[in-house]
Amino acid sequence: MSKITRISGAEAVIKSLLKEGIDLIYGYPGGAIMPIYDELHKYEDKLNHVLTRHEQGATHAAQGFARVTGKVGVVMATSGPGATNLITGIADAQIDSTPMVCITGQVASHLLGSDAFQETDIIGISSPVTKWNCQVTKASEIPKVLAKAFYIAKSGRPGPVLIDITKDAQFELMEFSYSQCKSVRSYIPVPDYSIKQLKKAAELINNAKKPLIVFGQGVILGNAETEFKNFIEKTGIPSAWTILGLSALPSDHPLNVGMVGMHGNYAPNVLTNQCDLLIAVGMRFDDRVTGNLDTYAKQAKIIHFDIDPAEINKIVEVDVPLLGNVKETLPEILKLVNKNNHESWLGKFHSLYEIEYNKVIKEELHPTKEGLSMAEVVKEINIASKGNAIIITDVGQHQMVACRYARFNKSKSNVTSGGLGTMGFALPAALGAKMGAPEREVVAIIGDGGFQMTIQELGTIFQTGSAVKIVVLNNNYLGMVRQWQEMFFEKRYASTELINPDFVTIAKGYYIEAKKVSKREELKSSIELMMNSKKPFFLEVSVEKEHNVFPMIPTGASVSDIRLD
């Protein structure tokens, strides 16, 4: 005799999350979402809710979690200011294709449009920065809408989804049943590739004398690291990465020729304008990658592997588009390409690397100046972690330096805000990453400016006891902006100098073990001390104040006009 039990919409939210295999949520409560929080309390043995100190922190933590696990990050917030505080993280997840489901409370449906307390049109506000969003006003719609939300967030090109649930729908009773969403008739997550294009691409690859691969996050999102490695090893093609492609290919792989773009490596940027075939794999030709489009790889044929048809010919007109998930298309093309090596072409990368090494890298890693360089800090982290750490970076000079010099053995190990460049991203993202990969070492590398944008998440790190290692590279400047002021605005340092508080005292105030280093002799031992700690650890490193990141492609310049000084 099973009698149908009716549950509240709020409980249906929790049950739906459990059906999706969710056991971790980041969020912040408030009036319009209280019924759901009340249910969270009942289910706290199954669902861990982490209270961040700001809703933006919740989104970045969910992003950090999603980026290292490949799973969907889940966020909850109340209506009005709670919901609007999510927007930066949502926009960040949208532009960096991070799967995330945000659930917001909303005023009761009869109050919609009345300017009720904490009412805001979060559906309208979030539309341009979500993959999908939906407002729910009836409890009975909750399971179906959430199932669709998870399906859309993680399928195809992933992205953020926002579900706004009115308070009356949270209270209303309903009969719960759940089935996962398997398709949406108006949505094609993975488009088909054309066999004809595949053959054409293979022919271009087989005939190319100087091919260059530029790969992006598509390789990581498609879990296609092995397929990618097989493809480049068979064809012997030098492979460069965008900032979001970093760690998909081990740093010491012989075909890894470094980073493209504004602060990328010399060789792949210069040789972009000499290759005869450019193969873009899961990347989107961001302007920070291409420099001046009028002079970008004009001499080359271009093949573009991408899952998103809207990316094809969006920025660069390509000769052969290959739609689909690279996990499927790379093994297909592997069958059609010849085994090859491009030794003398690869040699060009090595000789240009020598130039970069002598002009830039050597002094960065082994400074002859008294002041500490950001790069030598990253180098010491590499040594202590043996390249096995997850590195989270914030935005600015330290980000570029960390991405240039950090070494990786494993994929999904570099987490940074690439497309949006969100200062304040790293600290909460590191928390999420550590919770997603507790067995791994997680090191956040943050600037003194960005650290103060989400500094309050030290409280969340302390409360959850997450053993995140936090390194603040303190140059007492908004360094990246200062660099531009120095180079392009005749050193007029308008509002870029920071008079900072005592960060160590602040970290200690959050009961986090903390240390400050300013001398080279203490650097190695301090990093070892930090890495050996089983608890959260804060390390402030005073670095050279007015140091510039090179190489650099000035805005508007061509990739091949990259400057070494």
Binding site: I123, G124, S127, P128, K131, W132, N133, C134, Q135, I152, V184, R185, S186, Y187, D308, P309, A310, I312, N313, K314
Partner: protein, 177 residues
């Protein structure tokens, strides 16, 4: 090298969804493209809606915009056509003081020659309707203007393409064509 702007009719087939209008207009807003007209209605398929959007932009922009529209989850398909590839019309309504009709002789002739329909006549005003291309409704506007238009309104473009759109195929429904 700069491409010329041209008038394109964008047709979007969508599921019936509350927020979609907002999402689609945001795609134009984000790119600073102004919309010349926007019409929504039911389509030939049950529960499927059709948006007709007219813009004046370059071919490469319209291509990219249509891809962004198609990328929206609830959009089934989106197309763009030049004027030559579609059959399109607009409807305009003109409200005029009834007195003018009796006082101004040429007015009667204008109306007659324009092949417009008189749809309402009252002692105070009368309303005429003209359906056709922009140049036709515009001509009538300039012809009537001197006699005092109380109100004027023109609808957005409605259009059907010359080529089939095969939406039913996309949806796996029985096709009409």
């Amino acid at each position: 090298m700069s491409e010329l702007n041209k008038t394109y009719t964008i047709s979007v087939y969508t599921e019936n969804n509350l927020g979609l209008l907002n999402r689609i207009s945001a795609i134009f807003l984000k790119r600073h493209i102004s919309i010349e007209s926007f019409t929504t209605s039911e389509s030939e398929i049950e529960n499927i809606f059709r948006f007709i959007i007219v813009v004046n932009i370059t071919k490469s922009r319209v291509e990219r915009v249509v891809k962004q529209i198609e990328k929206q989850i609830e959009v089934i398909a989106a197309f763009y056509h030049s004027n030559e590839e579609t059959i399109f019309l607009e409807t305009a309504l003109y409200k005029i003081k009834s007195q003018s009709l009796f006082n101004e002789k040429p007015l009667q002739k204008i109306i007659k020659n324009s092949q417009a329909n008189i749809i309402t006549v009252s002692p105070e005003y009368f309303v005429i309707e003209k359906t056709g291309w922009r140049k036709d409704t515009e001509k009538l506007y300039y012809d009537l203007e001197p006699y005092g238009l109380l109100q004027f309104v023109r609808s957005g473009r409605i259009s059907v393409s010359k080529e089939p759109m095969n939406i039913s195929n996309i949806l796996g429904l029985n096709t009409d064509k």
